[in-house]
Symmetry: C2
Subunit: 371 residues, 2 copies
């Protein structure tokens, strides 16, 4: 794996050099992990003039690191003393100055004003530039190793969800179902949940980002579930909506079919080269044309990877196009206040037509199941 | 409760006025919650010239808010459109300029460089000052309502831990035990865990911040557990170490007694007016004098409240003194690489001698139990 991280750092180095910065300081944890193979708490990556100048600056000793996450062995690691060692970012700016760098590109969207000022104080001759979202942009297109982690995570989430559906649901609270799902994720080998598991019943069903309450599942409810597994740092997402009881009501079938049609339209428009906003529009216009214009979420999907919410965004205002090997969610939904709603959410990888089109990672059925 | 939040805002307003700022922008979520009663995701609090100018600026509609968390009803709320509404902090700076403020104190330790710049662009005539840790400092001393939330949280954590000790432990993995504890926290009424539950067995026992692995509990192991409940936003912490099997080994008893003595020394030095570093030293010197100078953690304790790690810090370099009604943890520990270790952690409230001295919130026994 070591060459992978070195290659990523080389790409970033080329980007920085083209922008006129000899060195870069990466502080956002997911970005550090992407480039260094691990992100001990508070660690930053100093990207120097050459590979030999790269340095992971950490305040956490090897003994404190979880065994699963080891930094790239080809990378030098500088561990600051736990007591009095200070901020690794500030130390890294000092090292950059010591290496003779005259400018340092930093992640202004991550560094706080106070830390940025401390950097300036420790190395007053260093010109601080903005690295912007350069690392986030490198992260958008995944390699097959990364996709394989996402695929395993999706399998785990499918298993956890499948087992829940086999158990008795009526009478159990949203909180309990969410905890049970999270336990099953870990049982099946996840590092942990990819985000707080959402379970909504009755009027709470289909509410985006709903936090589980003590409401119990009742006959006739919609039940919506959104969960994901983290596997080797990679996070996926699946969302499904079910009906509790023997037969769904007509309004439930109608709403479900509508959201299903919207979600399918979104999935089918995932082709390399498609504009992100067109994917959003494909899903959104199905809901729009049925009169559900209010209360729709900002996004109908988003990238996933080392974070659960990455670029690209699938939204009306999104810029840019999809590339092959970009994993995204497609997750339109409708929520009717007081009645509940439906949300259907898959993680897929954009693939060219010649490779069979979008690869569905979350394969739990999207039929309307009555449980 | 509304008067509580208004009184907190008044104190902050007085502080700002004394510092020459007519308005302040609070963006750190725990600080927003402290002053506004709730912190919808991404919301910021604009503190104006008078109470009537105060404004909670949110990008999340009421329907998206969990039912438990309602902002102070006396506070005006400005909800930005979900699509295209932009950053609430930037909008708030615009409102401050519109209210005629000429300077705005911001939380430079929380705002990123990029957001700070956006604030400056939207309101170029507004002088941006630094609010520093003003709100964090207001939060240090708790009122009895806050302490009551911590007390309930501690009871919940005690219950969850007590139930675990009655179950069979040998053969179960660290991950399972951690998940089981978190489920029990929620069963007993917690909003959720206060932080990721740590369970360490055998060589992992006593490692600070240890993340649970698939290692199974074995006869003769040390087992250390650290957990906490969040109750109405307030977070407490308890840590205990046990021995698995019928009789602890001599080295285990010796190490346990040592850490127990250190922890007791720390607890007993919790009096109003005590220097934070003296509390740290009281605990640390017990371990030091037994030869455990290496591998000790930076802190032997810290404040708790709306965040699990607040001021004050109990460390060798800490400044400041303890006040009455400040809840802190006392949590020394020793970890011997390859063998395991002991950590004992309580949450207590500093109280004057006349009120009976420090109030212990986490009451699970600290005898060395063999399970």
């Amino acid at each position: 794996m070591s060459e992978v991280y070195a290659a990523r750092r080389t790409r970033l180095r080329e980007y920085c050099n083209a922008g006129g910065s000899a060195a870069a300081l990466v502080s956002r944890p997911a970005n550090v992990r992407y480039l260094a193979g691990a992100a001990p708490r508070g660690a930053v990556l100093l990207l120097g003039r050459t590979e030999e100048h790269d340095l992971l600056v950490s305040a956490v000793t090897a003994a404190d690191r979880p065994t699963q996450e080891r930094p790239d062995e080809a990378l030098r690691v500088q561990t600051l003393p736990a007591v009095g060692g200070g901020d690794p970012a500030v130390a890294a700016a000092g090292f950059a100055a010591g290496q003779g760098a005259d400018s340092l590109a930093v992640e202004e969207h991550h560094l706080t004003v106070a830390r940025h000022r401390a950097l300036g104080s420790v190395a007053p001759r260093l010109r601080l530039a903005d690295l912007g979202n350069a690392v986030e942009q490198l992260r958008v297109v995944k390699d097959e190793e990364e996709i394989s982690c996402l695929r395993i995570g999706a399998e785990i989430a499918d298993q956890a969800l499948g087992e829940l559906l086999e158990s008795i649901l009526v009478g159990r609270t949203e909180r309990h179902l969410a905890l049970e799902l999270e336990r099953r994720l870990v049982d099946h080998g996840a590092d942990g949940p990819a985000f707080p598991t959402s379970v909504g019943t009755g009027p709470n069903a289909g509410r985006p980002g709903h936090r589980p309450t003590d409401r119990r599942v009742e006959e006739g409810d919609f039940l919506s579930v959104c969960l994901g597994a983290t596997y080797r740092g990679y996070r996926c997402e699946i969302g499904r909506t079910f009906v509790i009881g023997t037969a769904p009501a007509d309004w439930q079938i109608e709403l479900y079919n509508l959201v299903f049609a919207a979600q399918r339209a979104g999935r089918e428009s995932l082709v390399p080269g498609a504009a992100c906003r067109d994917v959003d529009r494909a899903a959104r216009q199905v809901l729009d044309s049925a009169g559900y214009t209010e209360g729709l979420t900002v996004l109908t999907g988003h990238g996933v990877g080392l974070e659960i919410d990455e670029d690209p965004q699938l939204s009306p205002a999104a810029m840019g196009k999809l590339d092959a090997c970009v994993p995204v969610t497609v997750e339109p939904g409708v929520h009717l206040p007081g009645r509940g709603g439906v949300r259907i959410d898959d993680t897929l990888v954009v693939r060219p037509e010649a490779d069979g089109g979008p690869e569905l990672l979350t394969i739990t059925t999207k039929e309307l199941l009555a449980l």
